[in-house]
């Protein structure tokens, strides 16, 4: 087990380095931070001084090497835009994004899996048809449109829920949480639905397809022949066997939720990492963009590792094979 984790971590290193190289090379095209930092009025001498100060006059690979060495120590320098340490900025925004991603993922799983099971078992009921039609909306409408529609209905017309921001947050050490205040919880509702809707429908359709597949297999027929109650057949045998692909997809989607919260965060002015990233792109704030992309790469690497480990828990065959290899 330990060797397995270690090998995965070693595999992750080149992935991270590649992401770093690609993102760093990309920054040559996002615009000139110097132009943005100097504003409307400057002299050539001021410009040259700033270029030297930022080290932008050095060769590409020297800049890249410095960046990697510093990044390995968690040192990303000062944001060009906000003049604050990048690590501090990201740590400040991470709770907002993670809480939103958590709510969206919980929503997708807790609603998506039961809906999938239901539509798989009762294929022809009108409720199943309704769910399937509804899921088409979730898959086909772009996120920003869903967000704006929800704002229009629940904020502007009905006036029930806030249209932007996080509400009041409570500081627990360095973590700021919106779960402990009424306005914080209210503020979470619309962004979570917006962010989670696509994943919800995806999971529902996946579970439904898998359920249909599994219900046709022989062991379900044997289980029924043994006279097991429906509940045991459906949830003990059928659902459990649909879970391997669901876990893979749900895991990867969690990474996607964190990484692509950007659109939702922009629509709802949610003060998370995605919004920070967008604002950094507009200002060509390279240190923040680099740190964010590396962090997202790291999130995907970690989630893949966790998903692999979960397979062992869900699928006993994998455990047996490993055991056999070890015994041999």
């Amino acid at each position: 087990m330990f060797a397995f984790i270690l090998s995965r971590i070693l595999q992750a290193l080149p992935v991270m380095l590649t992401v770093a190289l690609i993102s760093f090379a990309m920054f040559a095209y996002v615009g000139d931070p110097v132009a943005i930092m100097l504003g409307q009025d400057f002299t050539e001498a001021q410009r040259d001084a700033l270029v030297r100060e930022l080290g932008l006059d050095q060769p590409f690979f020297v800049q890249f090497a410095k960046f990697v060495v510093n990044a390995a120590q968690g040192e990303f320098g000062l944001s060009y835009r906000l003049s604050r340490p990048v690590a501090e900025l990201i740590a400040e925004r991470a709770p907002a994004t993670l809480e939103l991603a958590f709510c969206a993922a919980a929503l997708a799983l807790l609603v998506g899996v039961p809906m999938g099971v239901y539509t798989g078992l009762y294929r022809n009921s009108w409720l199943s048809r309704f769910f399937l039609t509804f899921s088409l909306i979730g898959v086909s409408l772009p996120t920003f449109l869903i967000g704006i529609l929800l704002i229009l209905i629940f904020s502007v017309w009905l006036g029930w829920l806030p249209s932007f921001g996080r509400g009041d947050v409570v500081q627990l050490g360095w973590w700021s949480t919106g779960f402990l205040t009424w306005s914080g919880i209210r503020a979470l509702i619309l962004p979570s639905i917006t962010l989670g809707l696509f994943q919800l429908t995806l999971i529902m359709r996946l579970v439904r397809a898998e359920m249909l597949e599994v219900l046709r297999t022989d062991y379900i027929k044997f289980a029924r022949a043994r006279g097991l109650p429906n509940r045991a057949v459906h949830f003990g045998h059928a659902l459990k066997n649909t879970l391997v692909p669901v876990i893979t997809i749900a895991g990867l989607q969690l990474g996607a939720i964190i990484a692509f919260a950007i659109v939702t965060e922009t629509v709802f002015q949610w003060p998370g990492m995605g919004l920070l990233f967008i604002q950094s792109v507009n200002a060509a704030d390279i240190p923040v963009m680099a740190a964010y992309l590396l962090l997202i790469a790291l999130v995907f690497v970690v989630i893949n590792l966790v998903v692999d480990l979960l397979y062992y828990a869900v699928d006993p065959r994998l455990r047996v094979e490993r055991g056999a290899v070890r015994g041999a």
Binding site: G77, L78, Y80, S83, P162, F164, Q279, A283
Partner: protein, 528 residues
């Protein structure tokens, strides 16, 4: 004992409720957040609009932007290169320090540091000298007739506060540590910074001791300002309609009709001191992005005039800007010193004339060129460029449009890597020199000359006139500006398009004057 405590608690509660009834909060939203609270670090509108509530300058501004007494009560040009400022007595900073000549000298020195972005406002200053506690002399390198107007943009800090917090220079981005001034402020202004959460909210609380509340005209009754950036246009407007914010600085044009019809919301319309131009590359011998080889068509006056005649500015005004623009034929709007109505005349829209001029210049079949344009800097910038590209193509100049976000766009034009581009230009000093010097002086002359002249325009006559604007005063100076505006019209180094309008949207119970520099002053805001 117990009942005594209960009574005290009750009294405190009642007191708090009374105070709450008195509290008048304005919740203010705009698309961008100020990047810093440092008064001399970044010269951008989003920073100034918040900091001007907190900090004062020597010279204040009236609602029509004319200079008014600020932290200085009087000023005069003692000698050609020496201005004397008399300071207001009895002013204190929010943290209690007395405001004296020391602070003025310090603030001007700080704005002169290389890490300051405010060089343009202090570029002529040699040094500031303390005469006594309430008198300061500012010595300039050359006579500077518009110094007071420029100093309206230089905020005054407390020397002792800056020294105590190790912030005697504006933030240097290369440093590893954040400066105190990035998130803290200590001014003399009408509001003090109560809370600063970058990108989330900035809370300003009324400073009851502000010197200005005793002056006439400052009738504002707002006790608290909560500023929140909301980047998405749709969300910002939704928040205003749903009553979650009271004041939106930058409502998108397409929502104005809806806002005007919404109950309890009003739209305050007004001009902005920002003019949009099409700028030609008239410097190179061959254009970088064109199929004409061996010569530069834009060096021929007739070609520039032809492209001017080809633009139907009324169509842009009506359809693209939805009436929210002031078409112009000159370099800056009337609020700027030096404006001459007679020179504000456009070449008329005349496509036939445009084709004839092109043929006369030797391009009967036109030519191709690439128009560079930002797509998120000015109001409807990309649509304006699309219109112009279509209008030019109609007279035979096949125009390819390259629209980009402001980051890459400005990087590209600042390398002069363009053949023709769209530029918008604001005039913070409210004086003609700022536009002429930055946009039309030959590059590489004195500091500040031609720093935004990426079309390579160079005319010795224009340079001479700009030189006169720098040193002369009174009627002679106005004459030089008038002549330069005439020359600008004759030479057509740019095609001026329009001055932007900047509507503000707010709750119907708020009244405040519209400011043409897009910087609201809450000292004049009244909530009923």
């Amino acid at each position: 004992m117990r009942s005594w405590m209960r009574a005290a608690t009750l009294a405190a509660l009642l007191g708090a409720m009374a105070a709450a009834a008195e509290a008048r909060t304005v919740r203010w939203a705009a698309s961008g957040d100020p990047n810093t609270m440092d008064p001399h670090s970044q010269n951008v509108g989003t920073v100034t609009m918040v900091l001007q509530q907190v900090y004062d300058a020597l010279v204040a501004r009236n609602p029509d932007l004319s200079p008014a007494p600020g932290l200085a009560t009087a000023w005069e040009q003692h000698e050609p290169t020496r201005w004397r400022f008399t300071l207001r007595p009895g002013v204190r900073f929010h943290e209690g320090e007395a405001f004296t000549a020391e602070d003025v000298v310090f603030s001007i020195e700080r704005a002169l540091q290389p890490t300051s972005n405010f060089g343009i406002f202090v570029d002529t200053i040699e040094r500031a000298e303390k005469v006594d506690d309430l008198t300061v002399d500012i010595v300039t390198k050359v006579p500077d007739p518009i110094l007071p107007n420029k100093l309206a943009s230089v905020f005054m800090m407390s020397r002792s506060w800056a020294e105590r917090h190790n912030a005697t220079r504006p933030q240097n981005t290369r440093q590893r540590e954040e400066m105190h001034t990035v998130r803290s402020a200590n001014g003399t202004g009408a509001y003090r910074l109560a809370l600063r959460e970058p990108d989330v909210r900035t809370v300003l609380a009324r400073n009851p001791d502000w010197w200005g509340w005793r002056e006439e005209g400052n009738r504002g009754n707002v006790t608290e300002i909560v500023f929140r950036p909301i980047a998405s246009d749709a969300t910002r407007i939704a928040a205003l309609l749903s009553g979650e914010v009271d004041f939106v600085l930058d409502p998108p044009l397409q929502d104005l009709a809806r806002l005007r019809n919404a109950p309890n919301v009003k739209v305050l319309e007004g001009p902005e001191i920002r003019t949009l131009y099409i700028v030609f590359d008239v410097g190179r011998d061959e254009l970088l992005y064109s199929d004409v080889k061996g010569r530069n068509p834009f060096r021929d006056l007739r070609v520039r005039q032809a492209l001017y005649h080809a633009i139907d500015i009324q169509a842009i005004h009506r359809a693209t800007m939805r009436g929210q623009s002031v078409p112009t034929g000159t370099l800056f709007p009337e609020q700027v010193n030096g404006y001459v109505k007679e020179e504000d005349v456009r070449l008329p829209f005349d496509a036939a004339r445009a084709r004839a001029l092109l043929a006369e210049a030797g391009y009967p079949n036109g030519f191709s060129v690439t128009l560079d344009c930002p797509n998120n800097r000015y109001i409807n910038d990309e649509q304006i460029c699309q219109n112009i590209a279509a209008m030019w193509s109609r007279v035979g100049v096949r125009t390819a449009l390259k629209a980009q976000p402001l980051g890459p766009f400005f990087a590209q034009i600042q390398r002069a890597d363009t053949s023709v581009y769209l530029l918008g230009w604001g005039v913070p000093t409210l004086d003609a020199l700022y536009s002429f010097q930055s946009l039309l002086a030959t590059r590489g002359g004195q500091p500040g000359d031609g720093i935004w002249n990426f079309g390579g325009y160079s005319n010795p006559r224009m340079d001479a006139l700009i030189g006169r604007m720098k040193t002369e005063s009174g009627e002679a100076r106005q004459a030089a500006i008038r002549e330069a505006l005439r020359l600008y019209r004759e030479d057509v180094p740019h095609i001026p398009l329009h001055h932007q309008m900047i509507p503000w949207a707010m709750r119907a119970n708020i009244s405040m004057p519209h400011m043409a520099n897009n910087q609201p002053f809450f000292r004049w805001a009244v909530v009923e």
